[in-house]
């Protein structure tokens, strides 16, 4: 297993956002996390990435216990996240945004001497082309449309060649057409790394995921293949009564 989160609990004061959640992701898998609002999907993702420290449980990544590691060390171990809120660097060029992501693991003295920049140029162009942004390389990231910013974020999250990519609502706020394109952009990535996606859009997630885990009120209520989940009675109940 690439990622094994076991018995994850997270409380915010009285609120139990997560209560004994298990999640296992194997290499090359696209794993969808679904559930109604407030079911704990984003919190789980944050606990995996290190944005939140779980109150209970532990997270193993590639057989290594990363529960107490800060985000930067998790990233260096091969984990990458795209947050729900777009967080590109608006005042920097699209090109520089990608460079920033690509050079993240370089040695300090190479960064100070700008030694890796030239070598990364081709890779930046390639990354931008893969996400249909090559024509926007010289624009400021803040000038991109919302959909383009989301793609830029995914491009940046992928740039360092992670083994696991965490995506929090990659299609939030996108038009139908943009969603469709996002789906086609994500599918080929599967050969490179495993993905965990949090999504509201069930049609979108059904199309691209191998495995689904359904959360409700901080607990896992079902986990399995897309067909299993669609047939699952308790999942239907949650979605029919609450969504």
């Amino acid at each position: 297993m690439l990622l094994e989160a076991s018995a994850i609990g997270k409380s915010f004061g009285q609120l139990r956002a997560l209560d004994g959640v298990d999640l296992a992701v194997s290499a090359g898998e696209i794993h969808g996390l679904i559930g109604p609002n407030g079911s704990g999907k984003s919190t789980l993702l944050k606990c995996i990435a290190g944005a939140e420290r779980p109150s209970h449980g532990r997270v193993l990544f590639a057989e290594r216990d990363i529960t107490a590691l800060p985000p930067s060390e998790r990233a260096r171990a091969g984990m990458s996240i795209k947050f729900q809120i777009t967080s590109v660097m608006p005042a920097l060029l699209v090109y520089d945004n990608v460079l920033l992501a690509l050079q993240a693991h370089d040695r300090l003295r190479d960064l100070i001497a700008s030694r890796t920049r030239r070598g990364l140029d081709a890779q930046i162009t390639e990354t931008l082309a893969a996400f249909r942004l090559e024509r926007r390389a010289a624009a400021l990231a803040g000038e991109l449309s919302h959909g383009e910013q989301q793609w830029l974020e995914i491009a940046m999250a992928l740039a360092t060649g992670p083994r696991l990519l965490l995506l929090d609502e990659p299609t939030a706020g996108m038009s139908l057409e943009e969603r469709r394109v996002t789906g086609t952009l994500l599918r080929p990535i599967k050969t490179r790394c495993a993905i965990v996606i949090v999504e509201h859009d069930l049609d979108f997630i059904r199309d691209i995921c191998d495995v689904l885990t359904v959360l409700d009120q901080g607990r896992v209520i079902a986990s399995g293949s897309v067909a299993d989940i669609q047939a699952n009675a308790s999942v239907q109940e949650v979605y029919l009564t609450r969504v």
Binding site: E73, S80, P90, A91, L92, Q103, D110, I124, T125, A138
Partner: protein
């Protein structure tokens, strides 16, 4: 937003379609971003290079003071303008280094430039490293307010300490700092001016290279999205400590020079008032460009010099109002009048010269 199409000029040159590289070496493509910052930089340094031949001696002395304060302002711009760390402690490093070299001269009789300058740099470096490990390296990223108050308190405490400590001369500070020497040579007015000029230019060039390097790009990222950068794998604390320590060393160097420029040191050299003044120089001139900080020093200090005699009582009020107006209505400062927003915030060197810019969106 305008894209490549609007530049209408040479479809091969401006189509950013293929690689960002095609623009390399094509400086003649008119719509490409015209860089104005280098012009400002050349103008400022050119002027300082020839000033002693144009001005009366007492104005040359004033101009060396400008350059020393400019070094100090640059040190603040490095931490705030480039890494988003609001430091009110730059005067602390400045003043502590000033006191150190004054003590070296008074107690050990050392005034050699070969000892004084490294000592000043070293004091600034060590002190800022201590402050940064105390303020910046917590479990969670510190808030701007926390760092601002922390550095402010440190500067305030240092000033009070100097005021009440007999060994440091108390209220009167330490007078009688001699002239800098190198062997038997004494750096009198003109020699001192060019020594300061050489250091100013060297520090400026080094800082300029640093902030435009890939390291500088990482700092800009930290300034805009600190937490996000951590998730890419950047060790934010290391970056912050390095830039804070470099800035502290520069402030220390400036403080050492200032002690020799004035001939004495006094408590408010490391206090809150000077710290605030540095912040104002930078906000007035414009943060995040280095040269903006220098312009701020030149503008404020020259105006003060020229007008404080005619308007002795009202000048501080006038100055305060001018600063307020600038900060409220022109947050990019003086430099924002000269350069485009695009050049001000997003200018990092490319692998190929000029690439990948070329769209005319800076006109937008």
């Amino acid at each position: 937003m305008l894209n490549g199409g609007s530049t209408s000029h040479g479809d091969t040159m401006t189509a950013p379609g293929t690689k960002p590289a095609p623009l390399a070496g094509s400086a003649s493509t008119a719509p490409a971003l015209r860089r104005r910052l280098p012009l400002v930089e050349w103008a400022v340094f050119g002027a300082f290079a020839v000033l002693p031949f144009l001005l009366a001696d007492f104005l040359t002395v004033f101009a060396s003071r400008l350059m020393i304060l400019a070094l100090l302002a640059i040190s603040f711009d490095l931490v705030y303008g480039f890494a988003g760390i609001m430091s009110f402690g730059q005067a602390l490093f400045f003043g502590a280094a000033g006191y150190s070299v004054a003590l070296l001269a008074r107690d050990l009789g050392v005034s050699s430039v070969l000892v004084v300058l490294p000592a000043a740099l070293g004091v600034g470096l060590v002190l800022s490293w201590l402050v940064s490990s105390f303020l910046l390296l917590g479990r969670h990223p510190p808030s701007v307010t926390f760092v601002a108050l922390g550095t402010l308190t440190a500067a305030f405490a240092a000033e009070e300490l100097a005021r009440s400590w007999y060994y440091l001369g108390g209220q009167n500070g330490i007078p009688g700092v001699p002239q800098l020497t190198l062997g038997h040579f004494e750096f009198s007015d003109l020699a001192f001016y060019y020594l300061v000029f050489a250091l100013f230019a060297a520090v400026y060039l080094l800082c300029r290279a640093l902030v435009r390097s890939q390291f500088g790009l990482a700092l800009a990222g930290i300034r805009d999205q600190e937490q996000r950068l951590g998730f890419f794998g950047y060790r934010i604390d290391t970056f912050k400590t390095i830039i804070f320590t470099i800035a502290g060393a520069i402030a220390g160097l400036a403080g050492g020079l200032y002690a020799y420029h004035e001939g004495f040191v006094w408590p408010s050299m490391m206090g809150v008032v000077l710290s605030t003044q540095i912040v104002l120089y930078c906000l007035f001139g414009g943060v995040g460009t280095l040269i903006g900080a220098v312009l701020g020093v030149i503008a404020i200090e020259s105006a003060t010099y020229a007008l404080s005699e005619q308007l002795p009582t009202i000048w501080p009020v006038v100055l305060g109002i001018i600063l307020l107006v600038v900060i409220l209505f022109r947050p990019t400062g003086l430099i924002g009048l000269v350069v485009s927003e695009r050049e001000r915030t997003g200018d990092f060197g490319r692998p190929g010269p000029g690439a990948p810019r070329g769209t005319s969106s800076d006109a937008a």
